[in-house]
Symmetry: none
Subunit: 196 residues, 4 copies
DNA sequence: AATGAATGAGATTTCATTCAT
DNA sequence: TATGAATGAAATCTCATTCAT
């Protein structure tokens, strides 16, 4: 599936995906600034200058990746959450989807959690908007939970987000737990404390 | 208080601290790579080359900041936790200290959570060692908690760390909650679920 | 003739040769350290940064020049020596070729005698290997001479090499003698003393 | 023995010698440009700025070393040559002294053969003059030799000089021959060919 | 659609030198 | 005599980007 339908910058479609995939991978692993256009070009077997036929700038590459990432994560989130009825089941599934997103092989989603909008002043606002789009998924999730009156939904959402994002730093495919298990464990560590 | 006593690279003490402070501030705000030696020099009223009288390289500057940060955060942690007897009180105080550390004005501690060891290959191992030193504080905290048998202490520690670190991204001094309140809220969101 | 066929660093061929030629000239005249990339760039009408498209570093530029120089000098040596049968005629021709090499217009060979391997730690071993390759030419020459038993071939070779190399320091195109004459004179100053 | 009597630049005498000795050693080993004032300062246990109390510049340091070197080598030359009557014995002793000078522990003399006047434009003329002073020793030596009419004394002197200087590049204290033996061998390799 | 070549701005770093103390 | 601190110029190198082909 291609998640780049609305990116205006690109011109063709054949190599774009490979380019995005490669760039996303490097950005997710090395970070945005530490990745050079040369790195990306080498990864797809092009020369650096050739990238500019497909994307007008490095910043725009990132923007396209962000967009693709948000579309993907939202789709995954909905697929995991919507079939369920119980809000706590939804939380469990949602956190599992979140941990999966920050750790999964496909790099689009990981970039969103690795590269901060401040690193790309030119697109800062748009990147923040994309992040908000994604975070709305979690906001909705928390909104539906029946919580103790002393629980601040805003803080709870940020705690969930933080715990999930952080997994990108320590998750290992060979570790004791799968991304799914980690997400579900996290939700269980919260549930009884905050549920009404 | 000066937290740089053991850094070998520095030679004197007068401008070193100003240099560390300025560098830490830029690193915490902009990130390591996005901060140039010129930025740091300007912040302390020096020329770029003059920095090298005090620190042999940009990488070593970061190392000194990391060290100072770990010393500071450990001191703060101990000051907050040790006076208390009840493990759950300790958790509450510890999480408050953590959130304080990632958000406080002094930038030494924030740098530890903002700049990842991978960004500085030359010192990666040492930086990781410093981080481990700090994380041991939280490990000890969790170790002392009387937990339900189904709770994995390893995962719980990582959840706490993630939730706390993340605050650096959204905390605002003018927000509804103080760092202290945020840390205590987070600990309450966990306590009843996982305690025996 | 191009003497750079096997240098991996270079990518194309059009400006590379001009670059090598210019760099070799400066290195031969000013020495390696005293020659800046800016000097070289100016000599070929580029900006300093542009050189790095063709060669990854100043050290690698020198390496390529060394290689070209050794290939050239070996070719010249063989062309001068091989047609001859008598070992003493070969010595005469060889010494002439040596003096020519250290004084000739083309700078590739002069660089080998001007820039010592120690000046470029990164490539020291390779540079020494190239020098050895060249010196083998003279070793072979001496090996074939019928010498008095009290003559040490090793010392004789070093004496020849030293006398020849040194010409780079004082040779003048407008002087009384051509490079060829100098080489032949030197061989004559030795012959009767050491020949059997 | 101090060989710096006439250097005007210096102000005192106590640390000057240590400074010259250290600088000469680094210059002889690493070359002039590759040796930093910091290197020299470290070698004598000073800070870089302190050197300027004793010598007004790096260039002047070299000048003083050159002068000391020429005085020393001339003294050694005379001590070796003057007692002898036969010109060929003198040549043998002179070449031995030359090889000794370019290889001996004391670095003053080695610097003269390692650092070329062109490397220090500010003092080029003076450095050349010092070299000439030294080379006059060899000129005199050759002048007294009874030579075949076809031998060019100028060329012969340059050949001797080249063969001798070159030893600095390959001489090893643990090698098969002493400096003395090398010099004498070289003179023997020439004598019978050129003597009348 | 891509390449080869270059640009130009800026990065980190080095280093001879200065100067108040 | 020497130091601590800094300067300022220049060095090597990186890199996003451009552009003719």
């Amino acid at each position: 599936m291609v998640y780049t339908r609305h990116v205006k910058a690109q011109r063709s479609n054949s190599r774009n995906e490979a380019l995005l995939e490669a760039a996303a991978h490097r950005f997710a692993v090395q970070g945005f600034r530490a990745t050079s256009m040369r790195d990306i070009a080498r990864a797809v077997g092009m020369l650096p200058g050739s990238i500019y036929y497909h994307f007008p700038s490095k910043d725009d590459l990132l923007l396209a990746i962000y967009q693709a990432g948000v579309e993907q994560i939202t789709a995954e989130f909905e697929a995991a959450v919507e079939p369920l009825d119980d809000p706590w089941d939804q939380l469990e599934a949602g956190m599992a989807a979140l941990v999966l997103a920050v750790t999964e092989e496909s790099a689009y989603t990981r970039v969103i959690f690795k590269v901060m909008p401040d690193e790309v002043p030119k697109h800062r606002k748009k990147l923040v908007a994309f992040r908000d789009l994604f975070e709305a998924n979690i906001r909705d999730l928390v909104e539906r939970l029946p919580l103790q009156p002393w629980v601040d939904k805003h803080l709870l959402r940020l705690m969930i987000l933080g715990a999930g994002n952080h997994a990108q730093l320590w998750f290992s495919a060979e570790g004791d737990y799968s991304a799914d298990e980690i997400g579900r464990a996290f939700s269980r560590y919260l549930k009884d404390s905050v549920s009404k």
